[in-house]
């Protein structure tokens, strides 16, 4: 059954977001469709204007690094929920997923406090095994076993290698 996957976030044991990837572009508001067609015409007629039009096309007040903000919010959410669940369900309990009307967040945590959060469409079934597969088949194979990768992935260092990225993209696109 195909599943629409929106994004994946990986957090290390220092609570830092060391990897994030989106599979859907946030939809542009309907009003901005017209300028984009104009840009396409520019692109065909004059290549040098490309940079200028792209700069013009930026929204009037761009938010500062929305992706990083989202990662922090997601981490805060899963961290709070995980603590809440462990308080209520006992220390061996684990938080698996939560769902809203817009999306579903799947969560997987390794014993070393590496945390995976996957956002999918709300109707998706449990993706726990998918996150587990990402951990064993991709993370361990291409990040942990990579001799050039550092032990700590400060700023995502060592995670953004070609094999991991390609393997992850192929794996997730296989689900969709």
């Amino acid at each position: 059954m195909p599943v629409q996957v929106y994004s994946l976030y990986i957090f290390d044991r220092h609570t830092e977001c060391i990897y994030s990837k989106q599979w859907v572009q946030p939809a542009t508001p309907a009003s901005s469709t017209l300028p984009s067609t104009v840009t396409d015409q520019h692109r065909q007629t004059n290549g040098t204007e490309l940079a200028a039009t792209a700069a013009e096309q930026l929204p009037p007040k761009p938010r500062r690094n929305k992706g990083a903000d989202d990662a922090k919010l997601i981490f805060g959410t899963v961290f709070s929920l995980r603590n809440m669940v462990r308080k209520l369900g006992g220390d061996d309990d684990a938080f698996i997923s939560f769902r809203t009307a817009q999306y579903k967040l799947h969560y997987y945590e390794t014993p070393t406090n590496l945390r995976f959060a996957l956002l999918t469409e709300p109707g998706a079934l449990s993706m726990r095994n998918v996150l587990h597969q990402i951990y064993i088949n991709l993370w361990v194979e291409y990040v942990v076993k990579n001799p050039l990768s550092p032990v700590e992935h400060k700023g995502g260092e060592g995670v953004r290698n070609e094999m991991f990225e390609l393997g992850l993209d192929k794996f997730i696109r296989g689900l969709m």
Partner: protein
């Protein structure tokens, strides 16, 4: 039926002695464990994030102190607000019959939380009161139970002339009706 009753009695005893032994038993012996499970707890949070009602029905969840429940209510209120902002896709622009673009549905916050030991269903009313229903992982028709709880709240809490909105719920009738409804649903399984 008599044997069934005995199993239940024994399980309650084990559950009381040690949470650990109880949870291992629950995973191996689902049928008899289901007899004392079902809806585990109800929490009501007002629109400011304060705890206004808290009742446990089964022993599937850890017992917390009053302070912990207050913290839990506040935390959940905050997390719920964050989850409404995390949607990775833009809401669909809805076009009415007359061609005028309508207002998209406001993003809903957390609705269902799934863990290994329990499920949490959250119902957020239009006025911002949140009903959290904790159930075991096998419970079905939680929507109906939630609906019924909300009906009881509307009938016996908000219509109580002595109840002040947003304050802790202390209504005997509500307690009694809720208890009998939950007992009925939990025993029906």
């Amino acid at each position: 039926m008599k044997v069934f009753g005995e199993i239940r009695h024994e399980q309650v005893k084990i559950g009381g002695e040690s949470g650990k032994a109880y949870s291992s038993l629950r995973s191996t012996d689902l049928f008899s464990a289901a007899a004392i499970m079902g809806i585990l707890a109800l929490i009501v949070i007002n629109k400011a994030g304060g705890l206004i009602y808290n009742r446990t029905f089964g022993d599937g969840l850890n017992q917390l102190g009053t302070n912990d429940y207050l913290v839990l209510a506040g935390t959940f209120h905050g997390v719920h607000a964050i989850t409404t902002r995390l949607s990775p896709i833009k809401p669909q622009q809805q076009v009415g019959a007359d061609g005028i673009p309508g207002r998209p549905d406001p993003p809903s916050g957390l609705e269902v939380l799934e863990t290994e030991n329990f499920w949490l269903q959250c119902f957020n009313t239009l006025t911002g009161t949140k009903f959290l229903l904790f159930t075991d992982t096998l419970q079905t028709n939680v929507d109906i139970a939630m609906r019924k709880v909300y009906d009881l709240y509307a009938d016996y809490v908000t219509k109580n002339p002595f109840y002040q909105l947003e304050n802790p719920i202390r209504c005997d009738t509500f307690d009694r009706k809720l208890n009998s409804y939950i007992r009925e649903t939990n025993n029906a399984r």
